[in-house]
Amino acid sequence: MSDRIASDQSVPSEVFDPEAPDAVPAASVETPTADRHRRWRLIDLWATVGPLAVFIILFALVSILRPAFLGGGGLSIVATQCTAILLVALGQCLVLNVGSIDLSNAAIALFSAILLAKTIGPAGAGGLVLVVVLGAAIGALNGFLVSFFQVPSFALTLGTLGILQTASLIISDKTTVYAAKSGLLTPMFGSAIGGLVSAFWTAVIIAIVLWAMLRFTTLGQSMTAVGLNETGALFSGIRTRAMKIAAFMFSGLLASIAGIMIIAQAGSASSTGLGSDLLLPGITAAIVGGTAITGGITNPINVVFGALTVTLIPVGTAAIGIPSEAQSLVYGLVIIIAVALTISRKRVGVVK
């Protein structure tokens, strides 16, 4: 507390405070050396184009090793498979941006898919609306519980995950639920622009909208501030609890859209089928896409490349000859490496 520091007045921290872990001696900031400037700008540059570069490198690698991949419409396949992961990753990156984590969003996606499969026949577009509203509501509930009861988000969303798993099992009666053919959804995977399915472009557009939201709205800027320094944000008059609820709500909303895409793609949903393992790829995609695990740093457009990269991993690993059984292994390694590389080691205090 401030009381304690009062007696440290003899050490003007401006000049040099050995206690401050990242004290910058006044001189070097007043007149930054060319070196420091260059290094800082380089980190900045990497943050902006890094994920794109990683994807291009990986794609190039795969194309070289498996020329058939490129010829056989590889990019288009990747885009198709990437859509659901991308949507889940976008939701996750917003939650990571406020400094929390949502372990339930993949379950929301699956639940939405199953629910939609059951309702799209009888209710048509109403089913779509229901699913989206429900997804957002579940997300908002997550956010509300986390912020008002001050419980750790990973534990709370783990609980929500369990409840949703049960809910999915119950309403699907433990089997695959088939959706009635609906004209509403066929264009998603039925039509393509530039060789890539419309569903993918839809997700990309959503990513751009989110990017704009973060940059050009009070909501976005406030959420980012909360992720960087929640107390500092609070003392600047930001409604920190509302911002967290908003982030979780977006996560739920985007997850339900992912669920819609699952139905659009497969025409059916089951607890063990397509989309049942979106959680880890979603988190990985967000992180590989440059989202900081500590909060406050994210770029939805880069998350697109992160998702493409993550989708490419199974193809890439097969291309290098790693058996498909080892896929989980690769995912696990990628997520650890991605975080280890991007975490700012100097600034973090105690890591738990």
């Binding site: 929390s100 798993q165 433990k174 059984e325 280890a340």
Partner: protein, 342 residues
């Protein structure tokens, strides 16, 4: 884990509470949990008089509680430090597959006898140590490292599982061991009790255990008190890895076959049990005996519900709901507008 990454400064006003009041509150809480267990037992006994309180069902409950108990001991120690271990299912799978492929099985001719137990546990320890090292050296938060190792473990297990025939345990012998009754209760339960006892002794009588509590309370203060925090963390993850490994072996024996997903669903039950038992996710408070209480509550609840005709798919839902309630109840007395949880 109150914070994903950083720790909260200790609350200065806490010491003002009188010792008597604090003690009473503590006891009330424990009584609450024991009471809940008793209530559950009574309720289900009333609902299913002929099936719930039979000797067979009691053995079933105890047998079902064995795996989460063993995992829970390791998980408790990790959580006491203020960290989290999400890798348990992956490690169980990897250890289980290692075990079954090195003991007498239907796929290959290896039979290392007791050695296969050692290897299985070793697999768990190695993965645990690696996770601990990555966390302490590279400063990667434990929930990321352990999510990673969840999938690394699963990957190793899947690779070992391969595309060959499913490795099966021969009938009798190891396969029947978990359920074999000894002094009226199944061996699996006795094994779990042994592990709980070991865990309790560690947390109560060894530097490793006491320092674990210290780290969970305040890592900076622990360090300034001369505790080698990084070393203790790695040891604890090694121990947790061993627990997961042993649990994987037990589950594989019970299953009678090798399966990479032999640990499926354990994460929920374990985390929920730890929290329900009263161990704080922020660290420094709780213990293995409390986790045992939590496991029993959940196991009895699940068993009772199934006997009452409720579908088995509700298990994760029930665990999830109770987990949520438990963390809210635990966090309630600490509420303050300036408190940050992530």
């Amino acid at each position: 884990m109150a914070n994903l990454v950083t720790q909260q400064p200790p609350d200065k006003s806490v010491g003002a509470a009188s010792p008597v009041a604090k003690h009473r509150r503590f006891e009330l809480r424990s009584l609450g949990e024991v009471g809940a267990l008793v209530v559950l037992i009574v309720v289900f006994a009333v609902l299913n008089p002929s099936t719930f309180l039979t000797i067979d069902n009691v053995r079933t409950i105890l047998d079902q509680s064995a795996t989460p108990l063993i995992v829970g001991v390791g998980a408790t120690m990790v959580i006491l430090m203020g960290s989290i271990d999400l890798s348990v299912e992956g490690l169980m799978g990897a250890a289980g597959m290692t075990f079954i492929l090195t003991t007498a099985n239907s796929r290959d001719s290896a039979d290392l006898g007791a050695g296969s137990f050692a290897l299985g546990i070793l697999m768990g320890v190695v993965l645990g140590v690696l996770a601990g090292l990555i966390h302490t050296r590279l400063k990667v938060p434990t929930f990321i490292v352990t999510i990673g190792f969840w999938f690394i473990g699963l990957g190793i297990a899947t690779v070992l599982f391969g595309t060959d025939t499913i490795p099966l345990l021969p009938d009798g012998g190891l396969k029947a061991w978990p359920n074999t009754v000894f002094l009226g209760l199944p061996f699996s339960f006795w094994l779990a009790v042994l592990i709980v006892a070991i865990g309790w002794v560690i947390t109560r009588y060894t530097k490793l255990g006491r320092f674990t509590y210290a780290i969970g309370n305040n890592e900076d203060v622990a360090r300034s008190n001369g505790i080698s925090v990084n070393r203790i963390k790695v040891y604890v993850f090694a121990f947790a890895g061993a627990c997961s490994g042993l649990a994987g072996i037990l589950a594989t024996m019970r299953l009678g076959a090798g399966s990479p997903t032999v640990g499926g669903g354990i994460l929920f039950v374990t985390v929920a049990a730890v929290v329900i038992g009263g161990t704080a996710l922020s660290g420094g408070k709780g213990g293995v005996l409390r986790t045992m209480l939590g496991v029993m509550i959940l196991t009895v609840l699940n068993n009772g519900l199934i006997l009452s005709g409720v579908s088995s798919s509700i298990q994760s839902g029930v665990s999830g709901a109770i987990l949520i309630v438990a963390i809210i109840v635990a966090a309630w007395p600490l509420r303050s507008r300036l408190r940050i949880t992530k």
